[in-house]
Symmetry: C2
Subunit: 142 residues, 2 copies
């Protein structure tokens, strides 16, 4: 396999509500002809929102019944420390759930955890030793 993730698909209960949540954080929804999906073009990959029940049906598995920590987080690294609080506040204002308020981490980082409307967990993080590159990409070790 080449080194990429093409698509991150989040199963959601209310497509329009979830689309509004991510739009409120500043991401721009693509116009798509298909109904029943919402698409955001991110840096070199796509974030898709898709009804959770349809996603489970595609997989042939049970629909997840609970909203909770799924054992996976998506990380958004900021350029300036102050952005952690800005984005945390914006996400909570948009209906997200604050799981852990902005806090310093022992090694010098600063981070917060929020859950989106369906419980998908995001970490908003500032790593002063390894910031995003100017083009937004992030690689371990610089």
């Amino acid at each position: 396999m080449e080194k990429r993730v093409s698509l991150i698909t989040l199963g959601v209960d209310d497509l329009e509500a979830s689309a509004a949540f991510y739009a409120a954080l500043g991401w721009q929804r693509e116009k798509v002809e298909e109904t029943g999906i919402v698409v955001f073009n991110l840096l070199g990959q796509v974030l898709g929102l898709y009804p959770k029940a349809a996603l489970a049906k595609d997989l042939g598995v049970e629909v997840p019944s609970t909203v909770g920590f799924s054992g996976m987080t998506l990380g958004y690294n900021v350029r300036e420390k102050a952005e952690v609080t800005q984005i945390y506040d914006a996400a909570v204002a948009a209906g997200g759930k604050g799981l852990k308020a902005p806090h310093d981490i022992f090694w010098g980082g600063h981070s917060a955890f929020i859950a989106d409307l369906d419980g998908h967990v995001w970490e908003i993080a500032h790593n002063p030793f390894s910031p995003p590159r100017e083009d937004g990409t992030f690689q371990w070790g610089g």
Copy 2:
């Protein structure tokens, strides 16, 4: 927020076993000084493996008790249709669980679903109308 996901962190039960699973699929583990994490540099972002219990503790939530569909999938889009079966077979051989064998989709795509050792779901997909670009990036609408 700028348009990016910096980090995808998968909570795992057995760090070395999960590292071996992704290495078997062809991804190269980075050398990291910290113990307790495994890192793969992907295209413009990082995939991290981290003990599920530690991840839950960081978030201040319950450790997910079940391995199952979490309501999110990660998609890997291939360049050639035949790669879907190749990667599906390789993932199963490496200890992954085949959730849905390679199959044609009504709109002309071809896809398969697999779960990694901890139940994180990947879709391996061929979209003949919107293949990955030469540099590996993928955007909706070309």
